[in-house]
């Protein structure tokens, strides 16, 4: 192999997008035709606060190279405070990942509003760029909970 896998590896990402803000933000990126890498597959959830740490671990066990949770900006949550909840809880996930030896950079949270199509595209672009050098995630893949 002549190519450096660190720059060509295509990470597989699961993006949990809240229905009210980030999913609408991704729609706006589409309407504005802002291009970004195709590595992230969106799964819409009611609120970032509904994303259980379990889902994130499941994604890694099934071989995801990166997991993104994106919700409304703090203070703008459609459900009042769901995203604060998400932030607190998911912060613990980051620590947990670190504890079990997975690069914490593989998990990311972002706050993208319905008006931020460009930001959504940027979040995905950056995440893909940061994951590439990490290569495939094999630490948790295939592990039982």
């Amino acid at each position: 192999m002549s190519e450096d896998p660190k720059t060509t590896y295509e990470p597989r990402i699961i993006a949990f997008l809240c229905k009210w803000c980030s999913s609408a933000g991704s729609d706006l990126a589409g309407v504005s035709r802002i291009q970004y890498p195709a590595n992230a597959t969106p799964i819409t959830v009611p609120c970032s606060g509904s994303v259980s740490p379990q889902y994130i671990l499941t994604a890694f066990r099934k071989g995801a190279d990166g997991v993104l949770v994106s919700g409304c900006h703090l203070g703008d949550c459609h459900y009042l405070e769901g995203n604060y909840l998400a932030r607190r809880k998911l912060f613990l996930v980051k620590e947990l990942l670190e504890f079990i030896g997975l690069e914490p950079e593989r998990f990311r949270m972002s706050w993208v509003s319905a008006a931020e199509g460009a930001k959504f595209a940027q979040v995905i672009t950056d995440f893909v760029a940061d994951l590439r050098p990490l290569g495939p995630q094999d630490k948790l893949q295939g592990q039982r909970p």
């Binding site: 291009q35 195709a38 606060g49 099934k62």
Partner: protein
């Protein structure tokens, strides 16, 4: 996996999707997906033939559900769910895979885009596989409306609602209704007298059989949901019984207390028992407990002794009432921008520097000077008056970033009213630029400049200070490039309009959001300007943003119309995707109860129970439950797991 017979329909969207995604390839890969029994692709799924194809396929293939891979669910989820229903299925037997906004439009490489479209479609198939049939939850409607704030916005909204046959509870913080408009003298651009237009409306409110007016009251707590709110209102003790008060003024004559009159903005004094304005509604004297000597006959008791009508009692208590309403209109108005931050203009420190509302009182026939413009320090008629616009407005670095919109107009009005009274006086206006959009507004300002010979100086004022009996104003006229110094008798500041303190309070109580400047946030800046994001809560007047009276009234009528529309439905429906508890697993630990932002969960016999109509389906409770005993319908952990697998399957 789920045993359902599923059909997948892939849309070309003309070239919008098919230009990047290999639509036929998506359809053929999906045909091999577990549970999928038929697939097809179509140029425009949302067209009539496209929709008919979906309905026909459901019937022909005895499908249990369909996935439509097309544009964002925000556009056509409803369309295709209606199709599913038309073919005898449940709305949740249809799911949308968004392969346009989230795929075809944002990726160039056809191979990558097609792969991703397949993954997105698989996710939708797996979600559909575990969806349960759910029907919208019907909720009853209470045909009553709470209106908070009784300025012109709240008054207009209440009258419109009542005219439509709805019952209204109108809650006002102060002792009289009318709000800021009550304190204005004449109004631009027609110079009609503010109280002459407002007073009849106020009387109508007081007399209307369907309007319950509660002054000196505040909303303490709101619970419930659209169509069915419970509102707790606290009314301050009414020491003077409005039904008995004869407005004779005997009480005020004997009261020994002198306090600044807040309704006259400190320009005159009042007693502890007084009438806010001669036209106050309800028409009654009011006793201010804070300045009264103690509500104790041993200490004073003069007013009670002198009142022949027996209207006064010192032992009355605050009251709390609970009202049921179906909708809420918030009309809590504005305040002028915090004066303490504006030291450079001398406001509060120099007696003859006033704000715009105080100047209105000086011009008002019912004001402290009976409409004579006299300066506060020595009660002389001023000859040189300086008006300064944009004080606090349009100054993002230090004060408010926004334009308060009405100050150009009322400053022109003030200068005109002054010149009419003191024809040989000189009026100067410092301005940044003149914003006079509105019917007849530009002509009004032009008239003030030309016919009334008011001097307009373009520039900011740098300093204002007391010099003997004059107020010296330093500024620059940026048009001539000259420094200007004026020895004024009176200075009037057009302070920025900011959301009232009561607006911040009610936003918290109602849990509705405010914008970056603190005004109430509308659900959509263009298409839903009088709705908050909370269903059933509507916005009116200056609490939502700076505006003049005509705009305030228009918005109030619009808010009323929205509430009328809402409450004229026989039933409201609530999304059925609510949380449900598996009691067998629940240990009654209360984690979910404490997490739920909507107070939708209670413990009944030691087990969590969700009140469906309160639950918004946010899923916060799901992640709080250590026993996995609570789930949101059609967003279950099992569905999540299968969707994750669908993405990562190779």
């Amino acid at each position: 996996m789920s045993g359902k017979r599923i059909g997948v329909f892939v849309c070309h969207c003309g070239n919008n999707i098919a230009g990047t995604v290999d639509v036929a390839q998506v359809a053929s890969v999906m045909a091999a997906e577990d549970g999928v029994v038929c697939t097809s692709d179509h140029a425009y799924m949302c067209s009539d033939p496209g929709q008919n194809a979906v309905i026909a396929a459901i019937k022909e293939n005895a499908l249990d559900g369909v996935v439509v891979s097309c544009c964002s669910p925000n556009l056509h989820e409803r369309t295709f769910r209606e199709n599913a229903k038309a073919a005898g299925l449940n709305a949740f037997d249809c799911e949308i895979a968004n392969i346009r906004e989230q795929c075809a439009w944002v990726h160039r490489d056809p191979g990558e885009a097609t792969e991703k479209a397949i993954r997105i479609s698989r996710v939708a198939v797996r979600r559909l596989g575990r969806n349960r049939a759910l029907d919208a939850i019907a909720i009853g409607v209470t045909r009553r409306v709470l209106v908070v704030g009784a300025g012109i916005a709240g008054i207009q909204a209440s009258l419109d609602l009542a005219a439509a046959g709805l019952e209204v509870v109108l809650v006002e913080r102060q002792a009289t209704i009318g709000g800021r408009m009550m304190g204005l003298s004449e109004t631009f651009p027609t110079l009609d007298c503010s109280q002459c237009v407002l007073s009849p409306r106020m009387v109508e409110v007081a007399r209307h059989p369907r309007i319950t007016l509660m002054v000196s009251s505040e909303v303490e707590k709101v619970s419930g949901y659209v169509g069915n709110f419970q509102v707790r209102i606290r009314r301050q003790a009414a020491y003077v019984d409005p039904d008995l008060c004869k407005l004779c003024d005997d009480c005020a004559q004997v009261c020994p207390v002198v306090a600044p009159n807040e309704y006259e903005l400190g320009l005159s004094a009042r007693r502890a028992i007084f009438m806010p304005y001669p036209q106050a509604i309800p028409a009654t004297y009011t006793l201010d407990a804070a300045s009264c000597l103690g509500l104790n006959p041993v200490v004073c008791g003069k007013c009670r002794d002198v009142c022949e009508a027996g209207a006064i009692a010192y032992d009355r208590k605050p009251e709390t009432v609970v009202e049921q309403v179906g909708a809420v209109v918030v009309a809590t108005g504005f305040d002028l921008y915090g004066q303490q931050q504006l030291g450079e203009y001398g406001l509060g420190a120099i007696e003859d520097v006033l704000d715009g509302l105080q100047f209105e009182r000086l011009c008002s026939a019912s004001g402290p000077t009976k409409g004579k413009i006299l300066r506060p320090s020595d009660h002389r008629a001023p000859k040189d008056v300086v008006f300064i616009q944009c004080v606090g407005s349009r100054d993002p670095a230090r004060h408010c970033a926004w334009c308060s919109k009405i100050c150009c107009m009322y400053t022109a009005k003030h200068a005109k009213l002054f010149k009419h009274q003191v024809p040989d006086g000189r009026a100067y206006v410092f301005y940044i630029d003149i914003r006079s959009g509105g019917k007849g507004y530009e002509e009004f300002v032009q008239g003030v400049m030309e016919e009334d010979e008011v001097m307009y100086l373009r520039g900011r004022v740098s300093r204002v200070y007391q010099d003997g009996d004059k107020v010296r104003v330093f500024g620059t006229d940026t048009l001539s490039g000259q420094n200007v110094e004026i020895a004024a008798d009176l200075v009037v500041l057009a302070l920025a309009m900011q959301p009232s303190a009561g607006t911040a309070a009610i936003a918290k109580t109602l849990k509705i959001s405010r914008d970056k400047d603190g005004f109430l946030a509308e659900a959509h800046p263009k298409l839903r300007p009088v709705e908050s994001v909370t269903a059933g809560v509507f916005l009116a007047g200056t609490a939502q943003g700076p505006k003049d009276i005509p705009e305030t009234v228009a918005q109030a009528s619009a808010a009323a119309a929205k509430a009328i529309g809402l409450l004229s439905q026989p039933q409201l429906s609530h999304a059925p995707t609510v949380a449900a508890v598996r009691s067998r697993l629940c240990t009654g630990c209360r984690m979910c109860v404490d997490t739920c932002p909507y107070d939708a969960i209670r413990l009944v016999n030691g087990k969590a129970v969700v009140t469906d109509v309160l639950c918004e389906g946010c899923g916060s409770c799901v992640t709080s439950c250590l026993r996995a005993a609570i789930q949101v319908k059609n967003s279950t952990p099992l569905q999540m797991k299968e969707m994750i697998e669908a993405v990562l399957r190779v």
